[in-house]
């Protein structure tokens, strides 16, 4: 046993030593970008870049996959990933809700309760299993160098742009105004209601899987992953004044490209002609909050990949085609659902938005179908 442990320690030390020559240029590049943002763009954006690098590092380092967590719960009755996610939601709610109540400048991730939310969350949950990554998963796996996720990223952006351009049409099918628990119940009431709901979910997961939540038995990567993500997401709320998001940045990138190519007239579109979105279209994306954290997440994951290079898994042509299609649909549906696992589930629930609580069961129902499709195509 001691020989095995010594051998594993030696391997880990060797991997660390091999990673540094790759990490030093990356650290220099991130520091250079940080300094340039500080000098030429905005100190806030420079700070948010570092928050994004941290988020990417934790997501990739802990392998904190929302998609995988749901999949192993359904297929193997292993609840550890879902328990990690519930822990993240509880910790982040405890940090975010008092911040929202204390600082009127901060905003919750409030999405309307709409037909589009129901459709979008279901389709997103289905497609994320095929594409093997949600919004944050696609980002950090692209940063790790996984070929399918690198190829999906531009299609996700295109889908997100198309979804935002069609959003007003979808909202016309029926929508109720957003409901914010912090506004309705105060921080204490919202936190208590969220805590009870999360505890009930943990109880249900425990009954179904036959493994009750026990923090001592949870793999440590889920524990430190939940803690790291909660702290960094709360920092995002404090610095940017808004919760962590992923999808908006993608849509903005594709909207900028489509506008520059003369394929899209933002002034003729209900969503993109809104003064706030129109202003962000005219500004550099380096001033956009979600764009800068997205770039940081990619860099943070690349940092982790220097230590653990991933051999790519070969895919057939059919798997590539269905994976790329799922990537586009995921981008489109995430806009209809007012967020992905990050924007709607993590940020929605932790800031007391009722739309996050509607998103979860619909996305989970979609996941059940998505797992069948995944098996059908041999992923």
């Amino acid at each position: 046993m001691n020989t095995l442990a010594t051998s594993l320690d030696t391997d880990a030390a060797a991997r660390r030593a091999r990673a540094w020559p790759r990490r030093l240029p990356l650290a220099a590049a991130v520091l250079a970008l940080f300094g340039w943002l500080l000098w030429s763009v905005s100190a806030r954006q420079a700070l948010l870049l570092l928050v994004g690098v941290g988020l990417g590092g934790v997501l990739a380092g802990a392998r904190f996959g929302f998609t995988t967590g749901w999949r192993v719960l359904v297929e193997q009755r292993d609840p550890s990933g879902v328990y990690g996610q519930l822990l993240l939601l509880a910790l982040l709610s405890a940090l975010s809700m008092p911040l929202l109540a204390r600082f009127p400048e901060t905003t919750a991730a409030l999405g309307p309760l709409s037909v589009s939310l129901l459709v979008g969350a279901f389709v997103f949950g289905l497609c994320m299993q095929i594409a093997d990554g949600c919004g944050s998963g696609t980002l950090y796996k692209a940063g790790l160098g996984v070929p399918l996720n690198m190829a999906i990223l531009p299609l996700f952006a295109l889908g997100s742009f198309a979804g935002s351009a069609h959003l007003n049409g979808w909202l016309a099918l029926g929508a109720l105004p957003p409901v914010g628990l912090v506004t309705s119940l105060g921080a204490g009431g919202a936190l208590a209601a969220t805590g009870v709901a999360l505890a009930l979910l943990a109880l249900g997961v425990g009954l179904w899987s036959g493994q009750r939540l026990h923090l001592g038995r949870l793999p440590r990567r889920w524990l430190w992953g939940a803690l790291g993500l909660a702290l960094l997401a709360a920092l995002n709320l404090l610095i940017a004044g808004q919760p962590w998001g992923v999808v908006y940045g993608f849509g903005l990138w594709a909207a900028k490209a489509a506008t520059a190519l003369g394929l899209f007239d933002p002034a003729a579109n209900a969503f993109w002609s809104d003064p706030g979105h129109a202003e962000r279209l005219s500004q550099t994306l380096l001033l956009d909050v979600t764009s800068i954290t997205n770039i940081g997440i990619l860099a943070g994951a690349l940092w982790v990949s220097a230590r653990r290079p991933e051999p790519p898994r070969p895919l057939t042509s059919a798997q590539w085609a269905i994976g790329l299609l799922a990537g586009f649909a995921m981008g489109y549906s995430s806009r209809l659902a007012f967020g992905c696992n990050v924007g709607a589930m993590v940020s929605g629930i932790s800031t007391g938005s009722l739309h996050g609580w509607l998103w979860v069961p619909l996305a989970f129902a979609g996941t059940l179908v998505g797992l069948r499709v995944r098996r059908r195509f041999g992923f």
Binding site: S40, V41, S42, A43, R44, L47, L99, R102, F103, E105, T106, T107, A109, L110, G111, P112, A142, G145, P147, M150, L167, A175, P178, L237, L238, I239, G241, Q242, P243, G245, Y248, G251, W253, A257, A260, F271, D274, G276, H277, S282, Q283, T284, L285, L286, V289, T290, I295, L302, P309, E310, P311, P312, R335, F338, G339, C340, G343, S347, G348, H355
Partner: protein
């Protein structure tokens, strides 16, 4: 592993090129209108875009 390294380089070169093109073609940054370093407590409301926004 060589293929992975090449793909990563291509990905980052494309991303860097896109960001550089965007910076060059967008309106110049007005440093006098820089947002507050920490929005919470600054008196300025959050102004960024978010995917939960219907508008």
């Amino acid at each position: 592993m060589q293929g992975t390294t090449m793909r990563r380089w291509a990905f980052w070169l494309l991303l860097t090129g896109f960001v550089a093109w965007d910076f060059a073609s967008s309106a110049p940054v007005n440093l006098r209108l820089e947002p507050p370093l920490i929005t919470a407590g600054s008196g300025s409301p959050a102004s960024g875009g978010h995917c939960a926004m219907p508008k």
